[in-house]
């Protein structure tokens, strides 16, 4: 599975420009699903199986997009001004490397700052691709780039950019591979534009019209020095989300996930995330409403170029998802 994670995280597909990762994922899942389509917003919607007597239509959502930057202006000397796509941490810009969709690499620099102890604003930053004028600059207004860091295997832990949410996609893909039977009609939806407002999930949920929705996404941890007061930690298992900054998981889904994990003896954690939300929020309010929840993969340093996950957490996330989908759901 490490190879899969590396392949996914080393693809460059920021919000709105997900074709690259869409193709990679499509190839991975093709042998395991009955039907694939790509909808109007670029969501990759894959159906597996059909609903049996005691089954439901279940939508699983993992977002394919990652945070990134979009060029707003190329100045007279070939420096590129930009805006952010999704939640960009201003403290992580200076000196970062980026890669545009055509492969062009760049470096982020800043205007001279009067106060070096403060993070620059987006407007004070620019990307340098080594050009000296708009003429020899391969980048133009509207071009997008993502942060550029290679995947690193630390053994028990893995580090990469865009673990948010390629790790969720990896868990979905691996579950698809290992899932033997299911009474449900399953929609594995690899959504777009989550980072800019859950847009892909909003439209794909309307389109799929599921009975139940589960997002697969990262969540933060409280286990780093002088960290937040969160109880979730790396290595303690996948997290069953109870509440985050945007939604309350349906209590019936929380119970279903907890009971399934306990029955299958899979370690799990109870999660409350103070800031941030996932595609589940958008699925929850589709049409007449959808009971929704989230299976979270604990991740350190979210929205930095070096997000870290625990391999046992990832494996147990796959086991939990497979266990959830294998049996009928009793809400």
């Amino acid at each position: 599975m490490k190879e899969l994670i590396q392949k996914l995280t080393e693809t460059y597909s920021p919000s709105g420009y997900e074709s690259g990762i869409c193709e990679v994922i499509r190839k991975e899942i093709k042998p395991f699903v009955n039907e694939i389509r790509v909808d109007a917003l670029g969501n990759l919607v894959a159906r597996k199986g059909s609903r049996s007597k005691n089954g439901m239509r279940i939508m699983l959502a993992g977002h394919m997009d990652e945070i990134g930057l979009m060029a707003t202006h190329v100045d007279a000397n070939g420096f590129i001004r930009f805006t952010g796509l999704g939640g960009i941490r201003l403290t992580m810009l200076t000196g970062s490397r980026v890669r545009f969709m055509d492969g062009t690499p760049g470096v982020i620099g800043t205007d001279r700052l009067t106060d070096m102890s403060k993070a620059p604003t987006l407007e004070q930053c620019f990307i340098d691709v080594g050009a000296s004028s708009p003429k020899d600059c391969p980048v133009k207004i509207g071009d997008v780039c993502a942060f550029d860091r290679p995947f690193v295997d630390l053994g028990k832990r893995l580090v990469a950019k865009s673990m948010d949410d390629r790790i969720g996609c990896a868990v979905m893909i691996e579950s698809l591979r290992t899932l033997k039977t299911s009474p449900h009609e399953l929609y594995f939806v690899f959504t777009t534009q989550e980072e800019v407002g859950l847009r892909g999930a909003t439209t794909s949920a309307f389109g799929v019209d599921p009975d139940l929705g589960l997002s697969l996404d990262v969540t933060a941890t409280g286990d780093t020095p002088k960290g937040s007061h969160m109880e979730v930690a790396l290595g303690k298992g996948p997290a069953v989300k109870i509440k985050d900054g945007g939604m309350l998981s349906d209590p019936r889904i929380v119970n279903w996930m907890v009971h399934t994990a306990e029955k299958a003896k899979i370690p799990y954690q109870r999660e409350i995330l103070e800031g941030g939300t996932t595609d589940a929020r958008a699925i929850q309010v589709a049409r007449a409403g959808v009971p929704a929840g989230c299976l979270s993969i604990p991740t350190r340093y979210v929205h930095s170029p070096s997000e870290m996950v625990d391999t046992t957490d990832v494996e147990n996330s796959v086991r939990l998802l497979v266990a959830l989908l294998t049996a009928p759901v009793d809400l």
């Binding site: 007061h229 969160m230 109880e231 109870i242 509440k243 945007g246 939604m247 309350l248 998981s249 349906d250 209590p251 929380v254 109870r270 999660e271 409350i272 103070e274 929850q284 309010v285 049409r287 007449a288 409403g289 959808v290 009971p291």
Partner: protein, 357 residues
């Protein structure tokens, strides 16, 4: 004593935090059952009660929506037997120190209500820059007084905490307590249903107690889509004039419900309701919402093809504290006004109205 009081007090004491509304839904369902023809729960837990009209089929429908969820707190961690908390819905942490609460503990497969207090640690136990300033929620604790081992066995992350301040009467037929937002409106809708027992009406009426309004009008969105009504009337509480609240956003306490106007409300609906209140001599005041009303009405208006929406407010002082205060008469006035409005709805009402009237 007003016959409304026992039901109101039962409603106000029932827990029913956003996302976990079952205890409130049960009480409301029991009360509404004899007043409606059908009762069911929506996909996201909203309570849907259908009262059929006697117009010819197919009848237009009006949805009257009041949210039944209440704000509260949730356990996020256990430290030495003390509990860390997060909010469910918007709470100013400045009203929390010393608040009496009930912890609904679900650890070890049991279900226990444990009394406790939300507490402010001593200054030296807090980050040095806080001093005597307000303490953010993340540094407050819930203390049950129980020993650490007991707490660890009884409580788990995600357990809910509701305010324990019992409702009580103040002078001038007012009531104080928690969850008047929005159980006051649920009571008003109940009165509306009771009035409709004696008033023939052509339209079908969906009485809806929505879920998770405090999180983002979640239940109302789903219910409106599911029931696709022709009209939506939303009843929620609004700000009453009182200490610290006296500007244009506030309305007099105990002088009738408010009729909201602004882009979130269909002007023709507002006009009809206003004319009716004048005719019936039911006191009201006007409420101005230049943008959104901050209620379920914000979503009902834009579901699917859109639904003409009216928002009516019941003024409360001290909203979102354990001692919200409202006038019982305003509940009765709101309920009656809506009932009379429904009773007077002609079958072609919606076709006849337009935004520029």
């Amino acid at each position: 004593m007003d016959p409304l009081f026992p039901f109101l007090k039962e409603l106000l004491t029932a827990p029913g935090l956003s996302g976990y509304e079952d205890p409130a839904a049960e009480i409301i369902s029991k009360k509404w059952k004899p007043l409606v023809h059908e009762i069911s729960r929506g996909r996201l837990g909203s309570l849907h009660g259908l009262r059929r009209g006697n117009g010819p089929s197919p009848r237009p429908t009006v949805m009257v929506a009041t949210h039944m969820d209440a704000i509260g707190l949730m356990v996020t961690g256990i430290i030495d037997g003390f509990l860390r908390l997060t909010q469910v819905g918007g709470i100013d942490p400045r009203v929390l120190p010393g608040a009496l609460v009930t912890l609904h503990a679900t650890g070890a497969g049991l279900s226990q209500s444990i009394p406790g207090v939300v507490v402010l640690p001593q200054t030296r136990l807090l980050p040095p820059d806080i001093g005597l300033n307000p303490v953010p929620l993340e540094y407050l604790f819930l203390d049950t007084g129980l020993p650490r081992a007991k707490v660890e066995s009884l409580v788990q992350v995600g357990d809910l905490v509701s305010f324990a301040q019992p409702p009580f009467e103040l002078t001038g037929d007012t009531i104080a307590g928690h969850s008047l937002d929005n159980r006051f409106s649920v009571a008003a809708l109940t009165i509306c249903l009771e009035e409709l027992q004696n008033r023939p009406h052509l339209w079908d009426v969906w009485a809806v107690a929505t879920t998770q309004e405090e999180i983002g009008t979640i239940g109302a969105t789903g219910s409106t889509y599911e029931l696709h009504p022709n009209l939506a009337i939303v009843m929620d509480v609004t700000f009453a004039k009182g200490p610290g609240a006296n500007d244009w956003q506030t309305n007099p306490l105990g002088k009738g419900p408010t009729l909201c106007m602004g882009p979130n409300i269909h002007p023709a609906l507002h006009k009809s309701m206003k004319e009716l209140a004048d005719k019936l001599e039911i006191p009201y005041s006007l409420e101005y919402a230049p943008r959104h009303t901050g209620t379920d009405g914000y979503s009902t208006q834009v579901v699917a093809e859109g639904v003409p929406t009216l928002v009516m407010g019941i003024p409360l002082r001290y909203m979102h504290t354990p001692v919200e205060m409202g006038a019982v008469k305003d509940i009765q006035r709101a309920g009656r006004l809506v009932a009379e409005f429904i009773a007077g709805l002609a079958l072609d009402f919606v076709e006849k109205i337009n935004w520029d009237d």
